[in-house]
């Protein structure tokens, strides 16, 4: 395992948000809210197009953070926070950057906080995703 300095960030990466990806996600969770499924219902509710559900943002991940090398096994997702700005809808292009924002150790555990910010094609903030990852391995 290797942990780079706090503040280290990934190069930007742009995700094209596909209607099919939103549909599969909505189906996998069994969601019924019509604006997640249907463009007309989405527009009637004030969205620009079929809208992505809140936790879909986890799929819009950043590129690897340089120098961050985590073990493949034994990672625990401890906490997750999302803050939302402009809705993410089908055919948006969301550019994300991930950043290591905090490293804490408690006994044998290491807690890493990773923050991913997504900006849409109009340069409007779409979301911030804050994930706390816990690992038992110590830094080598």
């Amino acid at each position: 395992m290797n942990i780079p300095p706090v503040g280290t960030q990934s190069p930007p990466f742009s995700h094209a948000v596909e209607l099919g990806a939103i549909r599969r996600f909505v189906e996998a969770l069994g969601l019924k809210y019509q604006p997640y499924r249907n463009a007309e219902a989405a527009r009637a509710a004030g969205y620009r197009d079929v809208v992505a559900p809140p936790t879909f943002m986890i799929t819009l991940h950043g590129l690897p953070i340089p120098g961050l090398d985590l073990p493949e096994a034994g990672l625990i997702h401890g906490e997750q926070t999302f803050r939302y700005g402009e809705s993410v809808v089908a055919n948006d292009v969301i550019t994300v950057v991930s950043r290591l924002t905090e490293v804490k150790t408690r006994g044998p555990l290491t807690f890493l906080t990773l923050e991913t910010t997504g900006i849409n094609q109009d340069h409007v903030m779409a979301f911030v995703s804050i994930s706390t990852i816990i690992t038992r391995e110590s830094q080598s």
């Binding site: 969770l29 069994g30 604006p35 620009r48 809140p54 034994g74 997702h77 999302f82 939302y84 700005g85």
Partner: protein, 135 residues
């Protein structure tokens, strides 16, 4: 505001396979018992993000009233094994025409303490951060 209704759901292996495909999270501990045992688990467990995603179902009555999620924070407190029944429930911490704050909990059928707890803020209207961006 309509009252919130708990969501009860049995987590199946096919749920997890579908979620793995939809989220592109192919960690085998979520669909392969051998892999799960190799990593010290009794068997396959749900993705934390699958469970969090299911909570969206609990929010749907509010979404249908024009609210949308502006902030959502939760802690994953226990693993959820496959073939177990979970209950998603919540209490209203604050409620107005413009904003609802919920405390939510996901509990496993046979565990006294919740497997997931969190706070969700929903707001009504499409103006976020002063930006009107609907076309």
């Amino acid at each position: 505001m309509t009252s919130l209704v708990p969501v009860v759901h049995r987590v199946t292996r096919s749920d997890l396979v579908r979620y793995a495909g939809a989220s592109e999270d192919f960690n085998p501990i979520h669909f392969d018992d051998d892999a799960a045992r190799y990593y010290g688990l009794d068997g396959v467990i749900a993705h934390g993000m699958f469970t969090m995603g299911l909570v969206t179902r609990f929010l749907e009555p509010l979404l249908n009233q024009g609210y949308r999620v502006s902030e959502w924070s939760n802690r994953f407190r226990a693993m959820i094994p496959v073939n177990r029944t979970i209950t998603i429930d919540g209490t209203i911490q604050e409620s107005s025409q413009q904003r609802v704050i919920l405390n939510i909990a996901v509990t496993l059928e046979d565990l006294p303490k919740p497997a997931l707890t969190g706070t969700i803020t929903l707001i009504r209207g499409l103006l976020i951060g002063g930006l009107a961006t609907t076309n």
